[in-house]
Symmetry: none
Subunit: 151 residues, 4 copies
């Protein structure tokens, strides 16, 4: 075959993810940068909440880039294989330094396939993960609703 | 004084601009990348419509960056002063090549002050300008509604 | 609202900070690069003292950029969460490598809000911090004088 | 000989230039970015006046860089040898795009030797040149006063 079909996160679902993350942020009383990429790893949707850090804009985008590209949460890189002396140490320098190994980037999966990712930044890694997780859960709920409506 | 107050485009208004631009895009039957920056020139909001060009993502962001920074539509640079032999030729090379002289970046002004900008890309410059203008007009209408609601 | 007001460090205050830092440098018998940014994270004022290191120019600017953007002294990143194995390790790679985790960048706060930052480089981190602190203190004294003059 | 002596613009003289340029700016009723480099082409002194364009910061620095490096005002590049079809066309792309061919960068000469340059940006090229010229003249007057005081 000359082509293959690749499922990509839709803009509609990216907006659902960003909304879910913003709602969680309001519950947390914090502001975040929230970035969504699809399977091309290119920016699809972005929201900077009022008090989010300007130095976290690119971090949020790069977390989404890394999570979608490596199909793994960016929190996974505390494993010792990525630490100095480990066989994968140095990965954070790759891709022009865009490979983020700080939690807050999470793949978005549909039917077991990574179709994009969300990246969140401004808080601690734990706070960023909490906010990003809400975004992923919002997409998962959206997928379920859509599946249900087909029945 | 140790500080000065600078008005910045709000996220709320940036979303209004992006919505206005997307509605216009649907009327035009086209998809665009739509970027909003505030007065820091940093990304505030971004939407990539499904069929928008991947190589136009950065162009849309850089159009907004240029329009907000130079407080002028990016369509202004067809003036002969910016053409070869003109005294301002070469400006498109500045800022690491981010200075966009292609139409589609338009400042957003409130009370006569540039508070941010919209940048649109994927179509011809004329199409990008048409879509970006709809975004600016949506903010202007929003500002009027808000002013009215204060009375 | 379509806009929000953001307080920004004034040029006048930035000059006061640079003067304070230069006076301290003379007391220390050393020369430094001294950079000031406002809340846009963009360069506002810069002084290279005669014997300051050329490779420290960009470091001083990036320390100010980081301190203003993350609203925290750049000396804060010795905390173990930013060390290998910690959950925020890798942050020094972000923002195209401009995120400085070496002391010498300090936010400037007015009325509890970060309005900019000073970045100092050429000496040891401890020396850079000493010089930068003098800059911050000079602004704080300036703010107090200005507040007093309003009475 | 293993070494040679190179005269470099001093910080003291750079501050004189920046002051002269700022005074002229106030007479003109405009705000500018004002950058000084010495013979290393590295930033020596910088002032961003309150209403100067953020997208002109790097332009001012690059104008000074170009004027000091090529020992020529940046307004010299309207000559047809630098235009499309001319033998030197394309020079504006060199140095990573930092070679500015827009007026407003002027070498500072002492005893017939280029020791640095001033770069000014925000206005039209003519306005930038007017402001930059005032900076150069301030240094020239400073040099004369210093020469006189030696007598």
């Amino acid at each position: 075959m000359a082509t293959r079909q690749i499922p990509m996160l839709s803009l509609e679902a990216a907006k659902v993810a960003a909304e879910g993350a913003q709602e969680k942020a309001k519950q947390m009383g914090m502001d975040f940068n929230i970035a969504l990429v699809d399977g091309t790893l290119q920016l699809l949707h972005f929201v900077r909440m009022p008090n989010a850090k300007l130095t976290s804009i690119q971090i949020s985008i790069d977390k989404a880039f890394t999570a979608a590209g490596h199909r793994s949460p960016t929190s996974a890189y505390q494993n010792k294989v990525f630490l100095p002396g480990g066989p994968a140490f140095g990965i954070h320098n790759s891709n022009g330094g865009r490979f983020m190994i700080i939690g807050g980037g999470i793949p978005i999966e549909v039917d077991g396939v990574t179709v994009g990712a969300i990246g969140v930044s401004t808080g601690t890694p734990a706070q960023d993960i909490e906010c990003a997780t809400a975004g992923v859960e919002a997409v998962n709920a959206f997928v379920k609703r859509k599946s249900g409506s087909k029945l």
